[in-house]
Amino acid sequence: MSDASILEVRNVSRSYRKGGFFGGTHFKAVDDVSFTLPAKPQVFSIVGESGSGKTTLARMVLRLVEPSEGDIRLLGRPLIGKEGRIDSLEFRRLVQPIFQNPFEAFSAYLPIEDYLRRTALNLKVAKSVEEADRLADRALRSVNLSLERIRGKYIRQFSGGELQRISVARALIPQPKLIVADEPVSMVDASLRMSIVNLFRTIVEEQGVSFIYITHDLSTAYYLSDQVAIMNHGRVVESGVPTDILDNPSEAYTRELMAAIPTVGERWSELDAIDSAYPTHSSRQKTGSNQPPANA
């Protein structure tokens, strides 16, 4: 059965020691989490607030952190343990990360094209510089850039949005099966954010790459994903198709999270309570009495 899935996460936990040089207590950053990414390419979102364990979970899938308990399988093969474990090079060809801050993901001292070329050579998907450049160019074209456009440039010459698109291109170079993106758009301006999110969707559909999208932002997860899991205190409290769980949340935590999003068009009811407690403020009824902003 496991051959039919890209990724299988089974009863995975990760504990850390907390406090005290001697003694102290253990706490579970991730607590008994299971989910499966089916063979059909798709976006699986893991949504949670800080401390929910979502990043620890992502790092376990990326094999940067070892689980304390449980089992993770990629294409049916174990990520952990000694028997039949996928070797590091093959793993990095199959699973690629995209991180939150693209300015920290690339070296500031290398032209970007060098960095992409080295990625292709290090992963041994290209045997020569020419071939590496060809792969880099192909990857860049799928994010609407090209090698020509970035040639000779360093990271500071790009905007955050462009650089994050280049991060996506870098991840695509080995033609991976799975991309794990941890808050990939939280540092990107709102007007560019959706173009990157849409890009993920296009890559899923056209290149058959699956995504694990880690985010605190329920709205983009709702927009982008085929499946979403809500995490709180290390546990998945609710998961399923976004329209099923977010249009009709059964968990109190999910509802609290949804109610806290500052949505345009849905004013928080608590504000009405404050306004009626301080009736002298006439903000919402204000007519022309206030000075209008005089912008030349």
Partner: protein, 274 residues
């Protein structure tokens, strides 16, 4: 309260890099005014020019920022340019700078940081009495007295941010300037802090200027909104009007680009398109 008149602000001594370009608007009393814009729009620079902090190489090249305050003791009107606001800081004007997660001094307990910032008029009574007053005030923000004995690293991000908002409000300022005060926080904590800020504004009937890149935040709590793009104001007016009827293409795109719960989904888009 503050009038900003055709002001151009930027950085650099030899060359001049313009960050805010010929901006005019008025900050009135008893209102929450929002400044929205994306990175590089000049919103934080404008805020610093209003606060009058020119220590970082910031310079007003042309135009004026003028403040009008009433001296609490004498009742006299104080009118001066923002370059001379320094003696109004933490008295008439409080400022919550951006990145305030790291603004608190890591080597100093919270109590000392609060007390150090207070103007003389707030320091009356003994240390114990002042501490009791501060503790009572912090309680209104859901912070216990032992927060005063903590170092910043012992507090969560949300607690630190509440401490900063509390410090800013404690001196009963007429004007609170907050630059992305909740950006690094989770939505649940963000909502609590924003509601606190609204309540403070209503109670003190003072003015809150809120800089944020998040249009949803502006929609929720601001009365008036200024939208900046590349150093200029592209649109300004009552918040409700701007959201109901955005005039500028940039504003329209910004509002349209917000993903919404229960709204359209990418899966639908791809399914329909390809």
């Amino acid at each position: 309260m503050i009038s900003i008149d055709n002001v151009t602000v930027g950085y650099g001594a030899a060359g001049f890099i313009t960050a805010v370009d010929g901006v005019s608007f008025t900050i009135g009393s008893n209102e929450i005014i929002g400044i929205a814009g994306e990175s590089g729009s000049g919103k934080s620079t404008l805020m610093r020019a209003v606060y009058g902090d020119f220590s970082t190489g910031l310079r007003i090249k042309s135009g004026t920022v003028t403040g009008r305050f009433t001296d609490a003791a004498t009742g006299k009107t104080i009118e001066k340019p923002s370059s001379l606001f320094r003696d109004l800081w933490w008295d008439q004007i409080s400022y919550i700078p951006q990145g305030s997660m790291s603004v608190l001094n890591p080597l100093m307990k919270i109590e000392k940081q609060v007390v150090d910032g207070l103007p003389r008029r707030e320091r009356g009574g003994g240390r114990r009495e002042l501490r009791a007053r501060i503790a009572k005030f912090l309680a209104g923000f859901g912070l216990e007295e032992n927060v005063l004995d903590a170092y910043p690293h012992q507090l969560s991000g949300g607690m630190r941010q509440r401490v900063l908002v509390a410090i800013a409000a404690f001196v009963n300022p007429r004007l609170i300037l907050a630059d992305e005060p909740t950006t690094a926080l989770d939505v649940v904590v963000q909502k609590k802090i924003l509601l606190m800020m609204v309540e403070i504004q209503r109670r003190l009937q003072n003015t809150l200027v809120l800089v944020s890149h998040d249009l949803g935040v502006h929609y929720q709590i601001t009365d008036r909104l200024v939208i900046m793009y590349k150093g200029q104001i592209v649109e300004a007016g009552r918040t409700a009007d701007i959201f109901a009827n955005p005039q500028h293409d940039y504003t329209r795109n910004l509002i349209a680009s917000l993903p919404r719960l229960h709204g359209q989904r990418a899966v639908d888009r791809v399914g329909a398109g390809a």
